[in-house]
């Protein structure tokens, strides 16, 4: 449906003549019809740049972009379709609601001035239908500055959907809303685009949004694709320390790969003992490695019981968060972060027996 092939982007030097580091490095993505696809990454990692390249508002330095089989950008063939001919919908980070127009006029803009041309009578019907879809049918004649943040966001959404585009681009659409509204808009937004069957490219730096809304996530860092996968894969099988730390919280423990079994399970020597963990093919025995486990993944118990990977630790600090207990336990040279059930009854200074289930342990790629 939408494919990006080897996109490179370097912005021209700024005022003082210094060449900035590239904003995108060899980025390739393949996005399927109707997919809710999220670009996730820290500030400045190139998410907006990718979106702008798809929209045609910026051109990559090199690479190729195709939509529905139509090449809209190709540096080799010297093709660059301007943004107004790409037939996309887009919600901007600032919403970009035109303050000199009413809600109705804002939403009618793509129909009136876009390609194709819509009959006068149709415009009214389609704008009202779009406004109804986002629940703003009563606000049609209101001047745009007299809207709340959430309403502006809905107007932007209605405007991007009114032309029934096959792809819609969303640049951090929820980042300007308060926490409550954000929660409800997440579900609403996903349901809306899913019900219309539109391919959605969603940009965010908020991991909760990414995990809860997406079919697939592309995790970016410094213009490079770090990991691509479903939310479940990204959360449970991060492929690098960066991915582990950026999405969710994690314990990263240094160690040495001691041996590898035929079933792909190996044993890792950590400062406090030996833990079993799946090992990738190319990892050589004896190498320094990093083992990752989520605070939720660690099993902690008060009582003593024999198990393969079970270690005695001392609880140093507990804070009661409500949904869970946030604990730090001392184990050998390491401090392990554990999220336990609020009903489990641990206390500071207690001993806790920790277990690292092997399917929850991940061996990370070496840091670059």
């Amino acid at each position: 449906m939408l494919s990006l092939e080897n996109l490179q982007k370097t912005y021209p030097p700024t005022g003082d003549g210094e060449t900035p580091p590239p904003a995108l490095v060899d980025l390739s993505l393949e996005i399927a019809q109707g997919e809710f696809f999220t670009l996730l990454g820290p500030s400045g990692c190139g998410k907006s740049t990718t979106l702008q390249c798809i929209a045609g508002l910026e051109h990559p330095t090199s690479g190729r972009i195709t939509m529905d089989g139509r090449t809209v950008f190709c540096s080799d063939a010297n093709i660059a379709v301007p943004p107004n001919r790409r037939g996309l919908g887009m919600v901007f980070q600032s919403y970009a609601i035109w303050p000199h127009l009413t809600v109705f006029e804002n939403v009618a803009f793509p129909l009136r001035y876009g390609p194709g041309g819509t009959a006068r009578g149709d415009v009214r019907a389609r704008v009202l239908a779009a406004l109804e879809r986002v629940g703003l049918q009563d606000f049609a004649d209101r001047p745009a500055p007299y809207l709340s943040g959430g309403q502006q966001q809905r107007v932007a959404l209605a405007r991007s959907l009114v032309n029934e585009p096959s792809i819609i681009l969303l640049d951090e659409p929820l980042s300007n809303l308060d926490a409550k509204l954000r929660d409800s808009m997440r579900v609403e937004l996903r349901d809306l685009v899913k019900s219309l069957g539109i391919t959605t490219i969603y940009v965010t730096h908020d991991q909760t949004e990414a995990l809860s809304m997406s079919d697939r996530i592309a995790l970016l860092n410094k213009g490079r694709l770090v990991q691509l996968g479903t939310p479940d894969e990204i959360y449970k099988r991060p492929n690098s320390a960066f991915a582990a730390e950026f999405v969710g919280r994690s314990n990263i423990l240094k160690g040495r790969l001691a041996e590898r079994g035929a079933d792909g399970i190996g044993l890792v020597d950590l400062s406090f003992g030996r833990v079993a963990c799946p090992v990738p093919e190319n990892q050589s025995v004896g190498a320094q490695v990093e083992l990752m486990i989520r605070p939720h993944g660690v099993r902690a118990e008060n009582g003593e019981a024999a198990a393969a990977s079970r270690f005695r630790s001392t609880i140093r600090r507990i804070s009661f968060v409500g949904e869970f207990l946030d604990m730090e336990a001392e184990l050998g040279d390491e401090t392990i972060r554990i999220f336990a059930s609020p009903y489990s009854g641990f206390r500071e200074g207690d001993a806790a027996w920790l277990e690292f289930p092997q399917d929850r342990c991940v061996l990370l790629a070496e840091r670059a």
Partner: protein, 580 residues
């Protein structure tokens, strides 16, 4: 990162077919080059032709004109006069404007709104009209001030004379106060009063705070306002022409006019062009100084964009004195206009008296509206004002968009070329335009003056539109593109309406200056393209003083009817847009 070196950006590449914006920037670049650069090249070429020849009819190059101009013993005097005049008037103007702006922005003085409105409306009074008023007030013969002084103190001769360097400096100084006021009030408004409060909290007395905190913070801003006005005054032509020539105080601009419009011999265009080149170099030096000062100012920038709570000093006992002072300033400004108003109702000029009252007549106004030549001048003025201000603003919005948004070399070049007229003195531009169009059918039409005004005011237009555009979020435009709009649709439906308050203010400024300017109308004058300002000058020198006075009153009233409503409309539009 072996990868990195393959990513080194080459020269910025553009992909695909050229966009509308690229094509338009080429078109605009060609237009601006034809308007700005071509006349200057011809000017330079003319300065190298032998005396009495026109550049098209010869291919001889000679430095004779430069030798003659440099050998002329009057050159140092001319430059000296020019600098003295500019320095004196700017010093007076900026000092007065600073005092009034400080009172309005920083103290609890009354009538703030009226003061601001009066200052803005002053744009409707052409300097040449003021000059005529002052001549009626202060000429050595029957100037009203002299008549009064003579009768009160039984003095002989002329106690005061308008025809002197100091009078010219004083009048110009007063006349530039409104312009300086607008700029300085902006500076004061953008300065965070907390910076001053911090000074007093830490124990400084009010005067020390003013001297150690306020002034140093304002100096860079004031300096750049001062240099900008200095540049304008070095180039000034109208007051030096009307007052300075009689006073025998020639400056560079009037000298060039005399060379081009000699009564005794054929105009010597080569020598004129040579003086023009000198003048251009002087102006260029000043503009470089201006840029340095502005860059210096950036370091001190205390404009944070926050809305400050106005921190107004109570004037206490000084309140009355301050109000009286400001009132006196406006009275002085009104005087010349009142005299012209009086004169416009008289069959022949006479000093106000009971006896003269009986002679009041409307004849002069009848003449203004019935004499073919004057009516044509009025029609021409309306055409000129509407066309030049509209063309300037339309071009400015497009040029500003290209130079602000597209970061290509083309955009930079366009920005520089459209800013260049700032450094070209109007008389020099007028001579250059005269030389290039003298042999074309455009010469003698009002179209040529429109073209000249577009060239002269495009720098102002693009600069203000640049600043306004920077405040508009780029995504508002990108949204229009993504919605399927082309470049022109985006400009028409998004940029124009969003910038409308700024565009209207810029339009007014250009309209006001186009109406008051006499430089281009006088240099390019023929019988067919007379406008109100040049007609005024002709009537005055005929002399038909009462008719001239009536025409001046008509011109000023007409401009007021344009300036005040449009300004109020623009201001209201501006506040409506802001979120409640």
């Amino acid at each position: 990162m072996a990868h990195a070196d393959t990513l080194a950006p080459g020269p910025a590449r553009t992909f695909g077919r050229p966009t509308t914006a690229t094509i338009m920037s080429l078109v605009l670049l060609a237009l601006m080059t034809a308007l700005v650069i071509a006349p200057l090249i011809l000017l330079f070429r003319t300065s190298l032709t032998p005396a009495g020849e026109l550049p098209f009819s010869t291919d001889v190059y000679t430095l004779d004109n430069y030798r003659e101009a440099l050998g002329n013993p009057r050159l140092p005097i001319l430059i000296g006069n020019t600098l003295t005049y500019a320095f004196g008037s700017v010093t007076i103007g900026v000092t007065l404007a600073f005092a009034i702006a400080w009172l309005v922005e920083r103290t609890d003085i009354g009538f703030k709104r009226s003061i601001r409105t009066m200052m803005f409306s002053w744009m409707a009074v052409p300097p040449i009209v003021m000059a005529f008023g002052w001549i009626l007030l202060g000429n050595p013969g029957n100037g009203i001030i002299n008549v009064i002084l003579r009768s009160l103190f039984a003095m002989k001769g002329a106690p005061v004379s308008i025809y002197s360097m100091w009078a010219m400096v004083l009048i110009t100084g007063f006349a530039i106060v409104p312009t300086a006021f607008t700029m300085i009030a902006g500076l004061l408004r953008n300065m965070d009063p907390q910076l001053e409060s911090a000074g007093s909290v830490h124990g400084a007395r009010p005067f020390s705070v003013f001297r150690r905190v306020t002034l140093p913070l304002l100096v860079p801003g004031l300096l750049s306002v001062g240099i900008l006005l200095f540049m304008a005054m070095v180039q000034a032509f109208d007051l030096p022409l009307v007052i300075g020539l009689t006073a025998r105080v020639p400056v560079l601009s009037t000298q060039i006019y005399l060379l081009a419009h000699s009564d005794v011999s054929r105009p010597d265009y080569s020598l004129t062009a040579t003086f023009g080149t000198f003048f251009l170099v002087l102006a260029l030096i000043l503009i470089l100084v201006y840029f340095r000062a502005v860059r210096l100012g950036e370091r001190f920038r205390v404009v944070t964009g926050k809305a400050f709570r106005p921190n107004l000093k109570p004037l206490g006992g000084w309140h009355r004195l301050a109000t009286a002072g400001v009132g006196f300033y406006f009275l002085v400004m009104m005087l010349p206009f009142l005299v012209l108003l009086w004169t416009s109702f008289l069959p022949f000029y006479s000093v106000p008296s009971m006896e003269a009252l009986s002679r009041l007549t409307l004849e002069n106004y009848q003449a203004v509206f019935s004499e073919t030549r004057i009516v044509r001048a009025l029609v021409n003025t309306i055409l000129l004002v509407l066309a030049s201000s509209t063309i300037v603003m339309v071009l400015s919005v497009m040029i500003a968009w290209i130079s602000v948004r597209s970061k290509t070399r083309l955009g930079r070049l366009l920005e520089v070329i459209s800013f260049a007229p700032m450094a070209i003195p109007p008389v020099v531009l007028a001579i250059a335009i005269l030389l290039i169009y003298l042999r074309t059918p455009l010469y003698g039409t009002i179209g040529l003056i429109i073209l000249a005004h577009v060239t002269a005011y495009i720098a102002f237009g693009t600069r203000t539109m640049n600043a306004a555009l920077l405040q508009i979020h780029k995504e508002l435009e990108n949204a229009a593109f993504v919605c399927g709009a082309g470049w022109f649709t985006m400009l028409r439906r998004v940029i124009f309406p969003l910038l409308l308050p700024h565009i209207l203010n810029g339009w007014l400024w250009v309209a006001g200056h186009s109406a008051r300017d006499i430089t281009f109308p006088l240099f390019l004058i023929t019988t067919t393209n007379v406008v109100a300002a040049s007609e005024l000058y002709i009537l005055w020198n005929t002399p038909e003083i009462p008719t001239a006075a009536a025409l001046a009153v008509v011109l000023v009233s007409g401009l007021l009817c344009l300036v005040v409503p449009v300004q109020i409309f623009a201001a209201r539009l501006g506040t409506e847009r802001r979120k409640p």
